[in-house]
């Protein structure tokens, strides 16, 4: 009785998973084995693995995703740590979540305005005597904007793991002779590792397949797996090859998740 009722609650979600997760993934895998003439073939994978263009693209995506994640982490960890010590924490958290409610495209267009030749950043650079620079369509602006968009998804899990730390444990660390830096390295960072892990997961994996920001902010100079998939599906119409890259991306995502998964078995609870 309870089992069946529990199953019926779950069935809607199961249907959702079936139609919108399992079926699309199966379709992509299936499609990746067909060439332009709808013949079954392994040629797409052979092409992918033998082409320096695709391999460089993969490496590129990796490097960009890594840089974006690193920058996001470097900004988010201190910010999250500082947040836990503020008075009106709920308000500050709301202010951090707020930008995520705004459409991604709108934010990207806003940055185009800010970074363009006649934009506010170049106005400022002219004002202090450096003169206008090419900012838009550079690797740096791409990484910066991607990091800006991802920061809330990094701050929140880290913040949550930091507020979970009992202040008495910090006191105990000081009491045993650790100064602030030692307490940070030996207690606070290890104890917030789970938050960092889930933050890295939720930033690194989406960063691998960015394509909108890549186009709008990075111009066509930055080519990643995300932009390659878009190209194959919408421009060259080579769905087989696009699906192959998609499969590669999915495999990379699984590997990333396995690498960043909590190491301790049985999940030690606090």
């Amino acid at each position: 009785m309870t089992r069946t009722s529990r199953l019926s609650y779950f069935s809607l979600y199961l249907l959702w998973i079936l139609f919108f997760v399992i079926t699309p993934v199966a379709l992509i895998v299936y499609q990746s084995f067909f060439n332009l003439n709808h013949q079954f073939t392994l040629q797409n994978y052979r092409d992918y693995l033998s082409s320096s263009v695709y391999l460089r693209m993969t490496l590129n995506s990796f490097i960009f995703a890594f840089l974006i994640t690193l920058l996001t982490l470097l900004i988010s960890y201190p910010a999250a740590y500082y947040l836990t010590r503020l008075k009106h924490r709920q308000l500050w958290i709301l202010l951090i979540i707020l930008p995520t409610w705004i459409n991604l495209l709108l934010k990207a267009y806003a940055f185009i305005g800010i970074f363009s030749q006649a934009g506010s950043v170049n106005h400022f650079l002219t004002f202090i005597g450096i003169g206008p620079q090419q900012i838009l369509f550079t690797n740096m602006s791409f990484v910066l904007v991607a990091a800006y968009i991802q920061i809330p998804f990094m701050i929140l899990p880290i913040y949550n793991s930091l507020v979970d730390i009992d202040p008495a444990i910090i006191n105990a660390s000081h009491d045993l002779g650790a100064n602030n830096v030692q307490t940070l390295w030996r207690v606070i960072i290890p104890m917030s590792a789970n938050g960092v892990r889930s933050g890295v997961q939720s930033v690194f994996i989406p960063s691998l397949s960015l394509f909108m920001i890549t186009r709008l902010i990075g111009g066509n100079r930055v080519i990643t797996l995300g932009t390659a998939i878009e190209e194959h599906f919408l421009t060259t119409m080579n769905w087989g090859m696009g699906s192959t890259i998609g499969v590669v991306l999915i495999i990379i995502m699984f590997i990333t998740m396995m690498l960043t998964a909590s190491r301790r078995k049985g999940g030690v609870k606090r």
């Binding site: 006191n171 105990a172 000081h174 009491d175 045993l176 002779g177 100064n179 290890p190």
Partner: protein, 366 residues
Amino acid sequence: MQSPETILELQHIYKSFDDFVALDNINIKLDQGKFYSFLGPSGSGKTTVLRIVAGLILADRGKVLFDGQDISKLPAEKRKVNTVFQNYALFPHLNVFDNVAFGLRLKRMPQDELQERVMQALKTIQLNGYEDRMISELSGGQQQRVAIARAIVNEPRLLLLDESLSALDQKLRQQMQYELRSLQQRLGITFLFVTHDQEEALAMSDEIIVMNEGRIQQSGTPVDIYDEPINHFVANFIGESNIVPGTMIRDYEVEFVGKRFECADAGMRDHEPVEVVLRPEDITVTTPNQGKLVVSVDSQLFRGDHFEITSHDEDGNEWLIHATNSIEDRDKVGLSFSPNALHVMRFGEKEADFDRRLSEYEGDES
């Protein structure tokens, strides 16, 4: 006999949190190698004292002297004091060994010496063989022991214990009381124990410091404090007692509930208004003729090792009695007590004056 060395001295310590005065002029000296308990209800300031000694918070005014040196402004990590925290505050990401080794690693102690010291500490608290366990795999009592080992492995000269037994169940708590006491005597470290549990303080301490409303009410040995409380608060907080208003007629004679009784106190003004303390276990039940007071019984509760009897006399004063047997005839019962059982308290007497008066008239007797 050599006078023991002072390890810690607090001079005129004041501390406020916003409008709340947590500590109001605390002065105390702790001797090396003794077991001290700060005892008081919640909000009395006892934990604030501990945190100021540990360096986790700083006093607004006053001095903390450790071994004669002013450490008032020294941060916690530089003080040679270790703490056993209320909920143990063990590091959940480290196993038992690494928890205990935490302080020694910070001192960059060589590996083999560190290994030996940690093992020794675990042996002291009877947890050898548990090195590789995670904290979450331990019971409350075991966590308590690890917290103690983590503190004593650093060989502090003063160990602070913050309500350290209050999270344990009754049986385990009593066992830990014995263990703490014997550990303290074995190590010869000064213990400063903070508790709201008067039985715990009475059982373990060399000296008890009773606190209320940010002030030290009285300090002394458990027997002194129990037998000769300085005021209404201490008499009420330590053990159970009957406290009645009275008048000191002259030395060694006090009047209450309209009768005059012989007592053991002196050194007050004649006809001074006072309060009289009579402990329930010092009252003996007898026949109405032989009793100094005659009461009728309201209720009797069996408490295992004694009966707790509430009663009232003709004037409506309530009397609490602890007796080994229950009372059969409940209407008229005589209560008897020796002059020594009566303890007379003056209103608003300072601790120094109280001690001086006590030593004066006790000197008379001998």
